[in-house]
Structures are given as C-alpha cells and as structure tokens.
Amino acid sequence: MSVPSTTPRPAAAHSVWPQLEPLLPQVTKPIQYVGGELGAVVKDWDAATVRWALMYPDAYEVGLPNQGVQILYEVLNELPDVLAERTYAVWPDLEALMRAQGVPQFTVDAHRAVRAFDVFGVSFSTELGYTNLLTAIDLAGIPMLAADRTDDDPVIVAGGHAAFNPEPIADFIDAAVLGDGEEAVLEITAIVREWKAEGSPGGRDELLLRLARTESVYVPRFYDVDYLPDGRIQRVVPNRADVPFRVHKRTTMDLDAWPYPKKPLVPLAETVHERYAVEIFRGCTRGCRFCQAGMITRPVRERSITTVGQMVKEGLEFSGFHEVGLLSLSSADHSEIGDMCSGLAQQYEGTNVSLSLPSTRVDAFNIDLAQELSRNGRRTGLTFAPEGGSERIRKVINKMVSKEDLIRTVVTAYTNGWRQVKLYFMCGLPTETDDDVLEIADMAHEVIRAGRAATGSKDIRCTVSIGGFVPKPHTPFQWAAMERPEVIDGRLKMLKQAINSDRSLGRAIGFRYHDGEPSLIEGLLSRGDRRVGAVIRKVWESGGRFDGWSEHFSYQRWVDAAAEVLPGFGVDLDWYTTRQREELEVLPWDHLDSGLDKDWLWQDWQDSLSEYEQDDCRWTPCFDCGVCPSMDTEIQIGPTGRKLLPLTPVDGGGLRLPSGAQQ
C-alpha cells in the first residue's frame, strides 16, 4: 500500500495544518480533527527532550474519553522537558484524502506528524483496534515492520489490556508494556532521555535493549518463537543475553498518590461519554472466570473516599462537566461506597450535577446506592449482570448470584420507581448448552411477572442484552474452546422465540444481542500468536478498518485472510478459536507475567468444569492466585472512616477563569 519512507525526519516538527485544513470541508465531522479542547496541551517542540505521541486506535468520539490515554497525557505533560500529544484513528474518508494529498498521520494537539516523535504509544482496550494501528503506522510514513525501522522512526509501544498478549502485533510494534501505565511511561521517558543525552549510542537497537532490561518492557524482537510440527508452540526464548526470560506487569500502588485525570479533556465534538470519570478503585477479586480485566489488574487498590471527593470537586470545577462517573470493575464493592455516594449526593444536591455508578452487582444494596445518587431527580439506568442464564453455568463462570437474588433485586428496583432495568448475559460460555441459554427467557419472564405483581402496573420493562463470550489470555478460560458462530446465532434465535412465546410478557422484554461472528475474530486475535500477524496484515491490505464497528467489520474478509495465510503454517482459524488447549501446551503469552500462577489458573479452570465456586480474597482467606507475592503487592482497601464534608456553597453569580486553560 505504501513504500517505507527512507527520508530522514525533519529536526523540528512543523504543523501539517496548512495541508490538512483544505481537506476538512470534504469529510464528515471535521471538528474531530481540529484539537484545541479544554485540557489540551501544546508545548514548544524544541524545548522538549522526550516527545510522545499517544494514540487510542479508534475514532475520536470513542478515543477521546479513554481514561488511560488522558491519564498518561497529563502525567507526561506535567514534566517540563516532556511533550505528549494525542492522535486518533482517522475515518476512511479522510484517510483517502490524506493519501491523495500526502498528509501524514497527525496529532490533534499541534497537528504534528506522528513520525517526528520519539515514542508512539498506542493503548489497546480491545484487539479489534489492530487494523487501525496498521493504518496509523502506514499513514505516518513509518515502515510497517518493526524490523525495517531506522533511527529516524519512533519507538512504537503498545499498552492496555490487549498488550497482555501482544504476539499477534509483535511484527508491527517495537515494545509492549503490561499493566498500569503511570509509572511505566515515566520510566520509559527516563530511559529515552538518558539515551538521547548520551548522543543515542548504539542507535535504536541499544535503546530497545535498555527498555527490555527493565524486565517490564517487552521487546518482541529479542525473543524467538519455535514451533512443534503440529503447529503448537515449542518454546519462546530470548535471543540475546541480558534480556529476561519473562517480562512482568507493572502495578501502580497507592492510587491516592496518582489522582489523575486532574484536568480532563473537554471535547468539542460529540463523544460517547461526556462526563468526569473517577476511578474509585483498580483491580477486582470477584473472580469471574471470563473476566480478563479482573484477572490482570489484581490486587484491589482503592482510592480513598476523600481523594475521590477532592478529584470530583476539582475535576468538575476545571471541566464544567455535569456528569460524574464513579468507575471501577465493580463499584459497589468499594469499602466506603455508601458514604461516598451519600456524601457526593449531598454535596451536589440542588445542582445540575448528576452522579452515576456502573451498576452490575445483583443485590439490593446496589439499588440503595442508585437511589442515593438520583437525589437530583435524574435517575440513571440500572443494569444487573447475572452473566449466565442457569444456576449451573453461573457456577462455571463463578458468578455467585441465585435466580431468587436476581428477581428480588429487580422487583425492588421496580417498587422503588424504576420502570426499566437492563439484564446482561453472555452466550457461548464453556460447557454451555441450549438449556442454559433458554433459562434466560424464564428469568426475564419471572422478572416481569413478579414486577407486575409487586407494582400493580403493566408499565415495567426489562432489556435482555447478550454479549458473546471471548476466551482471553491470563484467565482460567484461556484453555477453553470457543463455540462456533452458527451455534451461538442458533441459540440466540431460540432464546428470542422463547422470550416471545408468552406475548404478554414478551412485549415487556427488549432483546439486544451481537452476532457470533465478530466474537470469533476477537477470539482469534486475543489468543493468537505471531503467525496471526500475517492475517491482520492481509485483512488490512484488503481494506479492513474499524473492526469494532459493525458497519465496517467484515467477517468474510477475516475468514478469507485466515484461509489464505494460516495453512502455510499448518494451522487454521478453528485451530486458534474452537480448539481446546491441553494443560502442558505452551501458550503464546506464557513468557508475559501477569502475576497469576499458571497452576492456579489451571486449577480454577478445573474447578470451573466441576462447577466449584471460588470466593473473594477481600473477605475470605487468600487462595493463592499468585499475584501479590510475585508482584510484591498487597490488597489496599479501606475503610478509612473519613466522611465527605459539605462543600462551601459556591457564589451563584460567580464567574471563574478555568485554571490552566489555554489562553
């Protein structure tokens, strides 16, 4: 598609704005490429010694609200000699014009060419962003393969949850960072700064070696993968001295010391979330076996109630947002969530600020919290996530909720004035049968029946929302076989019929689901090895872009590319997706250490198959998942016993200049 650029990059990065501006009237939503948001930072290029381009590889409307990128952007820009700018995936209409006019991938902050930066950091929350990475690399004029890059190209670093198995993109990235980014970007910055100050000895290779020696930055080129005749991996070993056999994840302890974002970006274009989001804790030990986030972010580290209160106050003052999201993997589990919700509700009573909690825990306490947060009259939606339709499958996935719990909880929501609740389930789980899925219909019917009886009203509804299960690395289900898309689609069809088999009840039940096909491809990418890189490249070359968007995703394109490329390696799409792995198989990510003990993961997988549940280590003894001892970390939870104090009333007629806003 393009020829690797051999021209040296310019010493100073000039703005590409004069070339970009004439293209903007010809594309949809041009404002997403303009930058200049409140919270954006533009620094002097020449005054910076280390320069980062940060990318969220999706459209601006999805990428801008991403917490990870916002946090790293702020952490880096707080350093006087460091400059960080943001870049997002451009839509195909602008991509075509940029190619025609020779405009390179640019940052939205100062519209500088991405290739001019020292480090190009890309955050992957999903593997479906891989094709967008390739577009960005190519548009930037950076050689597609890491092996072809020179000292004139930035070091491309992948991060985010998908980076816990970066093997499918190993050919395209120079490095990957596992785990929390706050301290990792500072350490990488320090290494780049020192190497540049020394006059860049040994060039790119030396820089990558120094990064690899930290034992927490994975540099794929320093590892060789050997395969067995049957296609499985024989071993992954370092190919040079001084490089660790295993690369460890980073864990940021004491979240109170890292109260970011302090100055959240306020987008000019419409985005998917327009709110100030505060992470109230990181990590989760509920132990849901499908949940990669819960496994790889252990241990639980709470942010204290007082830090959360301070962040909300300052974040709202800076940004002017009217919505606050209290985020985490299971927010109702914070040791002081009750005081936090009532304290914040009291502080913002009578204002236009609305508070929300992603509510998935199936119990009455969750409803108390939602009641508290809706004091201002605005009710946020309630979502409960039993995840599995039958008691049996919920034991398999370790989601300890009984049918009675669910019905009681939803009825409580209805009697407290909610007219609508959302129920979230998964389809395609290990050991799942048609009956497990059909029980979702029974559950929904009973919810409506009980709700009508309790409220005496027919005006109540529920929405059943189904997601496709994708087995992920570093989870007990990393060995599991995926179900075929046609089986999933068949089960969803049966479920829909079962829901509508009673017309009176069926009318009150909404049904939303995703087809099985995209999940299968996500499964290929999440558990893939380096050979899958050729599939990604083939898909990208045949036009694959924005695979997370149903209107852009093409299942056929992936199937065709896999059929063209994989047989050459003696494997195929099924081999990566619907095949169950054996205990001793070397998995592509075994040399990447999430702290979880592989023997414990295998035991938890066996427990799953025998429907044995595992409790939470926050309130039962440690069950030796391995993370705390191997990472030298510990659970950090309250309660602190502190309360949120009433805010000093803000003068109603007060005008305030935003602190630190660009003038």
Partner: protein
C-alpha cells in the same frame, strides 16, 4: 458562569445561536445569546468565556441583551470567498451572468431532504475583489476573490449555494476547495451596509438576571 438551565427532565443550558456559519466555514462574526441566573459584569464574562474556549475561538464582546431577539437583528451576512486557481476574469464573467439572471435555482441536501430554491434574490451584492492582499496559504497561485452580501432568508442562502449558482449560470468549477470567511452579520442599513447587531445594547453595564 452562572448559566441558566431549561426546565424539565434533562435541563439544557440556555444558549441560542443566531444564524451560525456552516461547518467548515471561517467566521469573524458569530453571535449568541446566553441566559444567566444572576447578573455579572459583561467584560468579566467575556474574559471567562474566552479563557475556556479553544484557541481561535475568541470572544470579542458581551453586552446585556435588550428587548427583541438577537435573531431579529440578523438581517444579512457579509462573506468573502477565496477561489484559488480561478482566473479573476473567468469569475467576472460568471458573476455578470449571475447578476443578470432574475432567478438562479440551486439544489442542496437539507435535513428535510433535497431542496431546490432560488440563490439569486437573497444576494444584495456580489463583487469580484482585486487580489491586492495575498490570500492565506496560496502565495504564487492565481486566486480570485468574491465578496457577497446576502440577506437572511428561509431557506438560508449560503456561500456554497451562491457557488452552486455560479456553476449553474456559468459552469464555474473551482479546481480546489474555496475558502469562505464570514466578515460580518447584522442589521442592514439603508445603504446596504451591515451594522453590528449589538449596537442597540451598547449602553448596558450589567448582563443577565431578567
């Protein structure tokens, strides 16, 4: 700022824009009205807003709104259109044909679907300006410049509609995207000039609170 909100389930801030420039068009003269809960000093409000907005979005002035709506004071708009790589003589002939026509029907996609309307009647003046100044970003390339005064009508006649009109009457096809700038908008004086719509409220000292 103590902005006022609409009533109802999802309160919205009270802001109304009068005759906003289309997407992708530069402007030196946009106006908006903001409802406030409390009286504030207009100059302080201007500074606070200016500080919060993006570079290039400059808040120049704020006055306390008097009687009547802002929209009623927007009678016409003054536009400047730079047409890089267009020969001024060719543009001259196109403008002459446009001016001579009694009606020039053009089409545009609106929210209600494709509409056909007259782009001629609303045009008060249309002049080819000699390229004395160097147009932005196009140094050595020939460039024709058009200045327009267009009356505010419904459906609105925008600069791109006038360019469509020039294509209809004279097959004028600019080879590259034109650069459009709104220079002014406001009330129309007897001489066809545009007066600042805030002039009528200039004496006000405090804003808001009604």
């Amino acid at each position: 700022m103590p902005i006022a909100f609409s009533q109802g389930f999802t309160p919205h801030p009270k802001i109304s824009y009068a005759s906003a420039a289309p997407t992708g068009v530069a402007s030196e003269a946009e106006y908006l009205e903001i409802g406030l809960r409390a009286e504030v000093d207009p100059e302080q409000l201007r500074r606070a807003l200016d500080a919060a907005l993006s570079p290039g979005l400059d808040v120049l002035d704020a006055v306390v709104a008097g009687s009547g709506s802002l929209a009623d004071r927007i009678e016409a708009s003054h536009w400047r259109i730079e047409l890089p790589e267009v020969d001024p003589a060719v543009l001259d002939r196109a403008v002459a044909a446009f001016t001579a026509a009694g009606e020039v029907l053009v089409e545009r996609m609106t929210k209600q679907g494709r509409r056909t309307f007259d782009a001629r009647a609303a045009v008060i003046s249309i002049d080819v300006v000699p390229p004395t100044e160097t147009p932005s970003g196009a140094a050595a390339v020939p460039c024709a410049i058009l200045e327009l005064v267009v009356r505010q009508v419904t459906p609105s006649v925008r600069p791109d509609d006038v360019l469509s009109g020039l294509r209809v009457v004279a097959d004028l096809e600019p080879p590259v995207s034109p650069k459009v700038i709104r220079l002014a908008q406001g009330t129309l004086t007897a001489h066809g000039a545009i007066a600042d719509p805030l002039d009528a409220d200039r004496d006000g000292t405090a804003i808001g609170g009604r």
